[in-house]
């Protein structure tokens, strides 16, 4: 702090107007030529110092593992170098491409991801629109508070709740029996796994997902509704022609983000809920690579699968963003 204070006279402090112009000039000084790094340092050294630790953190804990993916192309020996021992080319890539199990879990992942997207994406929009029609503020606030709550639960607790509700003595089976059906051990039945996963996911994310839409709804220009009403639009048409276009940018942004994370199917939840009995539908890429890599210690092979998955995720975000920019003009960047 004291260091920067000593250095102040060299840089920024001037009368406010000049100060402001300088703040906006980017890398160039007020005369248009490039400010030498020495002066930049003198002026902003403290800011760079503040960024040092975070950047080091990102380099180690985010970029480190990215570089670490190199073991997908190198033989890795536990206890040896974290970057592997020797090059093996695309050995591990070929290995998973020829692994029927990989394609099986890939299919499962795509199905679960797609179902989550189809069910989980529109529902928050619907709930936000319904909430937006509520006139009693207190009621609206209560509904919001309650619906946000599941978002703050640990996935372990959600899994525990799912298991209790679906157990043989659980509520769901009680209802089934009351209606004349038989109790089903849902979590041991592959045909139920996807529904359970998607259902619990929606339960946990529905309310939280409305926040951004509700924010966007407050920014829709009120005069548009008036104009629509004068043109004879009823409430439904107003929603369709004014409200929905008004929140379209938000919808597109969230859709792009959802598409990008589509293959990262809630790994932790699957890991907690699945069992060998439900591998047929429940086993996804991440759980498979977890078992292969960290349980069976085949790290290079698992890293190859993980790298493939991460690349697909990146490609999906980039293409969703590109398509959306072309078609609607809205994009993330």
């Amino acid at each position: 702090m004291s260091v920067t204070r000593e250095r102040e006279p060299a840089g920024l402090v001037a009368e406010p107007a000049v100060g402001r112009r300088r703040w906006n000039t980017g890398a160039r000084g007020s005369h248009g030529y490039k400010v030498p790094w020495r002066d930049v340092w003198r002026r902003d050294g403290a800011l760079y110092l503040m960024a040092v630790l975070p950047v080091v953190f990102l380099l180690i804990f985010r970029y480190g593992p990215m570089v670490g993916n190199i073991i997908a192309f190198r033989r890795f020996r536990p206890g040896g170098s974290i970057f592997g021992e020797e090059w093996v080319g695309t050995l591990y890539i070929d290995m998973f491409i020829n692994d029927p199990m990989f394609w099986h879990v890939f299919g499962n992942t795509a199905i679960i991801g797609l179902l989550t997207l189809i069910v989980g994406f529109p529902l928050p929009i619907v709930l936000a629109l319904l909430l937006n029609e509520v006139r009693k503020k207190a009621f609206k606030r209560v509904v919001q508070s309650i619906s946000y709550l599941p978002h703050f639960l640990s996935v372990v607790i959600v899994a525990g709740m799912v298991m209790q509700l679906l157990s043989l003595q659980g509520t769901v089976n009680q209802i089934a029996e009351a209606l004349g059906g038989e109790a089903v051990p849902f979590l041991q039945r592959p045909e139920w796994f996807r529904a359970i996963y998607v259902g619990s996911e929606v339960w946990q994310t529905l309310g939280w997902g409305t926040i951004l839409y509700l924010a966007a709804l407050t920014t829709v220009d009120a005069s548009l509704y008036e104009a629509a009403r004068i043109d004879g639009a009823n409430r439904w048409r107003q929603t369709w022609h004014v409200t929905l276009p008004g929140i379209r940018p938000t919808m597109i942004t969230l859709l792009i983000l959802n598409i990008g994370t589509f293959l990262n199917v809630g790994f932790e939840k699957v890991l907690l809920l699945y069992s060998p009995l439900t591998y047929a539908t429940g086993d996804v890429i991440s759980t498979y690579l977890y078992r292969v890599g960290l349980v069976s210690n085949n790290l290079s092979y698992a890293a190859a699968i993980g790298l493939f998955q991460a690349c697909i995720g990146l490609v999906m975000v980039l293409s969703a963003n590109f398509i959306s920019r072309r078609m609607t003009g809205a994009s993330l960047w």
Binding site: G26, M50, A51, P54, L58, R135, Q169, A216, Y225, G260
Partner: protein, 312 residues
Amino acid sequence: MVTQNAMTVPAVSVGSGTSVGPRDTRGYRAFTAVNTVVLLLVCAVMLYPFVTVIAQSFSSPGAIKAGLVNVWPVGFNLDTYGAVAQNGTFWSAYGNTVLYTFLGTTIAMVLTTTFAYAISKPHLRGRGFLIGIAVFTMFFNGGIVPNYVLISALGMKNTMWAVILPGAISVFNLLVMKAFFESLPRELEEAAQIDGLGWFGIFCRIVLPLSKPVIATMVLFYSVAYWNDWFAAFLYLDKQELFPVTLFLRNLIAGASTTASEGAAAAGTTTAAISANIQAVTMILTIVPILCVYPFVQRYFVSGVMLGSVKG
């Protein structure tokens, strides 16, 4: 809210004579009724699992086993709470969770606020690059295996740092903070500069005191994330005395479900039913701190989230 304002503008009163505006057509009244019912149903679905767990935590194991417990405790007793409260492993796990949450949130807040402040200055040279390296990690991550290899190589396995450090910067939180700092009136900082404060002084004395709402939001987000995390502990910790409460709970649940699926035998089912009890109590005790903070920070986090995402 906006629609409401639009609607109260003088309008032809159709249908009912009591209130004004086209809202009160018969169709709209029907819609309002249906809407209310739907929203109440949503609330019921959201709350039901909580209610069941609470009811189970106060019920007798026999009643749970017989499938009698839904919304209301059957065979009310506090024995399970007593049993869990006397369990040393549980409290050690609980203490670990508190420690990890506190340390993790502190470190995360220091890193996030300082970085967000630096990249919130539009004139900073290299700002685009700094933002870029942060944002890129949102769309591409190293993956579980290289992370595991890295943590092992750093010698952090079986230390609390394996749980605390990797989660220390959430880029989403970083961007929310950056947006907040950008929204602060620049004149304040300029005035402070004229008074001879450096960047760090401005940050500590002017910017942070003005940022209480966003800081409250971020503290909530980070502490909830640390409090709820179990996977890092599951991957990197083998010693039971280091386990956080979520991992303790996970092992409880996993143990119970193995017992349940293995034994249709009478003994097996009893064990499962007893642990359903204990599970419920452990779950409640794990949720309670979050439920206690929640009402107080709610108004902050909604504005915090909106800030990061809606720009006009």
